[in-house]
């Protein structure tokens, strides 16, 4: 009788182990790599356009639609150029696309962002032969400089093009 009062209840863990085994099996089967959770995106806005006709001016809905600073970063394979329209025009060139050059770009863009706080837009104009990887490295630095309205521009073409 005394022995019986000290009997321990037992929990049947077998179904739990079965379920966990199923979960592990299907998790391994459907594993798509950790890269699934490691994607990020650069949202692009449309590049600014120069409005000349009165009809186009009427289509502007609010003051925010009008840029007060036209800021552009040109990307070539061997250099970067930063231009903006304030104070009679600004233009500077940064040689190469090395990490040090990108650091200089980030410092300059941070300074411009601080000087013109109402402007969050920047147009990136890569040359045709620039690799996508290099463009993303520039976009990354612009994000770090707190520019949120990033657009990608391209030079105007008159004839149909094909890509080499």
């Amino acid at each position: 009788m005394g022995m019986r009062s000290h009997e321990e209840g037992h929990l049947n863990l077998v179904p739990l182990v079965d379920i966990l085994t199923s979960i592990v099996f299907f998790s391994l089967l459907t594993y798509a790599g950790t890269a699934l959770a490691a994607l990020t995106s650069f949202d692009l806005v449309l590049p600014p356009v120069v409005v000349t006709s009165p009809d186009e001016v009427k289509q502007l809905k609010k003051e925010d639609d009008v840029l007060n600073l036209l800021l552009a970063v040109r990307v070539a394979n061997d250099h970067l150029e930063v231009e903006h329209s304030a104070e009679g025009g600004f233009h500077t060139r940064i040689d190469s696309l090395s990490t040090r050059s990108l650091d200089s770009l980030q410092a300059l863009m941070t300074e411009i962002r601080a000087r013109y706080p109402s402007n969050r837009d920047v147009v990136v104009i890569p040359a045709d032969n620039v690799a996508y990887d290099d463009i993303v490295r520039v976009l990354e630095r612009l994000k770090k400089s707190r520019f949120s309205g990033i657009s990608l521009g391209t030079k105007a073409r008159a004839t149909p093009v094909t890509t080499p």
Binding site: N129, A131, A158
Partner: protein, 176 residues
């Protein structure tokens, strides 16, 4: 005699309490099921909405940005895919000239696929031909792709009605 009376009393009590039989409720399968439900709920709400990488594409890497959610995706690897559906070989897309002099960057085959998709989305949403589609198109391009090709894909997408574009890249390390 005394024993007999006791036996009768015991039998009578047994009859009385027999209807109050103690039954056992096995909660173990219920707990197991709840464990499964909680597990799959957590994984599908967090992982299910995250964007997968288009197969065969080596994305550029960055250290900034928040996790990208699953969107309609244009993949550019060896093949151009739209929503995981192969459209054409990337080399063919690069070599295909525009058939519209007003839009020299247009890739006609890709444009047809995108326009068809945009029209079906407009129809499903009850939008007019001139209304903003409000569907973001994510581009997952190989990091070796040149900008002139990327700009053609972007121009074609905008021409087809996808004005909200995003470049999806792989996030590495920890950044701000």
């Amino acid at each position: 005699m005394r024993n007999r009376t006791r036996d009768l009393r015991t039998a009578r009590r047994g009859q009385q309490f027999g209807k109050f039989r103690v039954t056992q409720l096995n909660l173990v399968p219920l707990v197991d099921t709840f464990v499964s439900i909680v597990f799959f709920t957590l994984t599908t709400t967090t992982v299910g909405e995250l964007a997968p990488i288009v197969p065969g594409v080596t994305l550029p890497e960055t250290t900034v940005g928040t996790p990208a959610l699953s969107q309609l995706t244009l993949g550019v690897g060896a093949t151009v895919t739209l929503g995981n559906r192969p459209i054409m070989a990337t080399l063919d897309a690069a070599a295909e000239p525009s058939n519209d002099p007003r839009f020299p960057l247009k890739v006609p085959t890709l444009y047809r696929a995108m326009k068809s998709l945009a029209d079906s989305l407009r129809h499903a949403k009850g939008l007019g031909a001139q209304d903003d589609l409000k569907v973001a198109l994510a581009i997952q391009g190989d990091k070796t792709m040149r900008y002139d090709l990327l700009s053609r894909f972007m121009a074609t997408a905008r021409l087809a009605g996808f004005t909200h574009l995003a470049l999806q890249v792989q996030r590495v390390g920890v950044g701000p």
